[in-house]
């Protein structure tokens, strides 16, 4: 086959995927930026160029800032806990514990269930007065508390659901990595008289570093991407206490139908994801040096 034909074939094979990717990933990303400089078109008034007006609105919008800070706390609260638990689960399931088949099942099941479905179950747990959590705290003689209805606890409740849903997913990556660690390393360490904790700290943990970084980036993306449970459990309330950035975009874009302001908000989200990409890229670079 000659060179030109091969080049044409290459592009032809790529073409269908490239067209769809361009239409639904690259074009919308660029169009978001473009539309964020215009006003939202109304039946009587077409879109007009307004420069940075949307960004000025955004800057003065307390709900935006609240969503951003909620999202920040949400990420900060869920990522370390779910990664820590995932690592713990993986070490347990990988070991010789009794009933580890059941444990693996228990840890992983939340991952395959729809978020929207499990949110319903959790919603009941948090229900005031007769919910499960209330019954437990009630049994200890603690006063009634509206877990999802009060600003101080609502976001925390959603964080618990997210950790529960994601830890098992991240466990899988750790499990895969653990199974590739050579047993001779542990044997050598045992001969040197190292205890289990030392072995974990000196062998397992460093070798799992690339996995940890990979999981970290994924966890970060997920904390800005997954808002299904908010739609079911709180709808951003009470008083925007649980509104995350993407949920706010959804509200602005599809409840208030202010598409150009939603575009400006989306730009903020894209910037955050770009930052995650930079982290990932740096990490990939370093990983190549490892080998």
């Amino acid at each position: 086959m000659n060179r030109t034909a091969s080049q044409v074939h290459g592009w032809l094979l790529l073409l269908p995927a490239a067209v769809l990717l361009a239409a639904f990933t690259h074009y919308p990303a660029v169009a978001t930026l473009w539309h964020s400089f215009f006003s939202t078109p109304k039946p009587a008034r077409p879109a007009a160029f307004i420069g940075l007006e949307n960004y000025r609105t955004l800057f003065d919008d307390p709900v935006f800032w609240q969503s951003l800070s909620n999202n920040f706390w949400f990420a900060l609260g869920t990522i370390p806990v779910s990664i820590g638990l995932a690592l713990l689960m993986a070490v347990w399931v990988n070991g010789k514990l009794r009933g580890r088949a059941f444990l693996r099942l228990a840890f992983f099941t939340p991952t395959v269930l729809p978020m929207i479905a499990v949110a319903n179950i959790w919603l009941f747990f948090y229900t005031p007065q007769y919910g499960l959590l209330e019954q437990i705290t009630g049994a200890f003689g603690l006063p009634n508390h509206n877990w999802l209805g009060s600003q101080s606890t609502a976001l925390g409740c959603l964080m618990v659901v997210a950790v529960w849903k994601e830890a098992g997913f991240f466990m899988i990556f750790y499990l895969a990595a653990l199974q590739s660690v050579s047993p001779t390393l542990y044997e050598a360490a045992r001969i040197e008289g190292a205890g289990p904790w030392t072995m974990f700290r000196r062998i397992t943990f460093p070798l799992l570093m690339p996995t940890t970084l990979f999981v970290l980036v994924n966890a970060m993306i997920n904390s800005f991407r997954l808002v299904d449970h908010i739609v079911v459990m709180t709808r951003g309330g009470p008083d925007n206490a649980t509104s995350l950035l993407l949920y706010y975009i959804y509200e602005v874009g599809f409840k208030f139908w202010d598409s150009s302001y939603a575009a400006a908000l989306t730009m903020v989200l894209l910037l955050i994801l770009a930052a995650a990409a930079v982290v990932q890229f740096g990490f990939l670079e370093r990983r190549i040096h490892y080998r």
Binding site: W11, P16, F107, F173, I221, L270
Partner: protein, 266 residues
Amino acid sequence: MTRTLETAGAWLLGLLWILPLAYAFWAAFHPSEFSTHFALTAPLTLGNFETAWNAAPFARYFVNTMAMVTMILAAQLVLCTLAAYAFARYEFPGRDIAFALVLVQLMVMPDVLIVENYSTMSRLGILDSTLAIGLPYMASAFGVFLMRQTFKQVPRELDDAARVEGASALQVLWKVYVPLAVPTYIAYSLVSISFHWNNFLWPIIVTNTVNARPLTVGLQVFSSTDQGIDWSVVCAATLMTSAPLLVAFLLFQRQFVQSFMRAGIR
């Protein structure tokens, strides 16, 4: 001693993790007066499932979800295979830039670009259709990446041998590469099916009638009624909609876990 403590800790966490699902089973199979009241003598019933099934056109939602999941997966397999083959075995100008542009989607997923994608669907005139739910996901960067990795491991000699025998590029792909990548296809399919079966935000945005609505959106009927939620019915509906995935998961647990592992290693 530490061993016992560890086992106890692991089991405690395991039981805690399975608790929400265990509760859902309890509530779904017992009359609603037992949804907050636990007694061994509680009678079993399927009435909650009946009520849930009749509360919304679930048969239609099941059909919609299956159609959507199948359509997305079929398109993904074809498109990603072709693109991955190009990236793995062809030299063409702009290949590396094109690959980098594909990888952008790993970060900027369609889930985030809801506003613009909605207006695209509206301009295409396909709002409220299965196609509209599927289109943004069909060219999957993750799929391309995964299959490219697999194809790169296929020995060049096999490729060359087939070409010497006069096979065309597509024949080589079909006869040599695809059969060798079956484990990757299985892994990718499981991940894709469970992702799209569970997807919610984009489908709720782009559908507004029963015509294309998937199960996840249909399920919302239950949580949005503010007064008098019957938790037993909610649990029954929840189990019903996740049942196919849950059963598949229990049957093929090992494959599931291995698939996710394989799909995760990049």
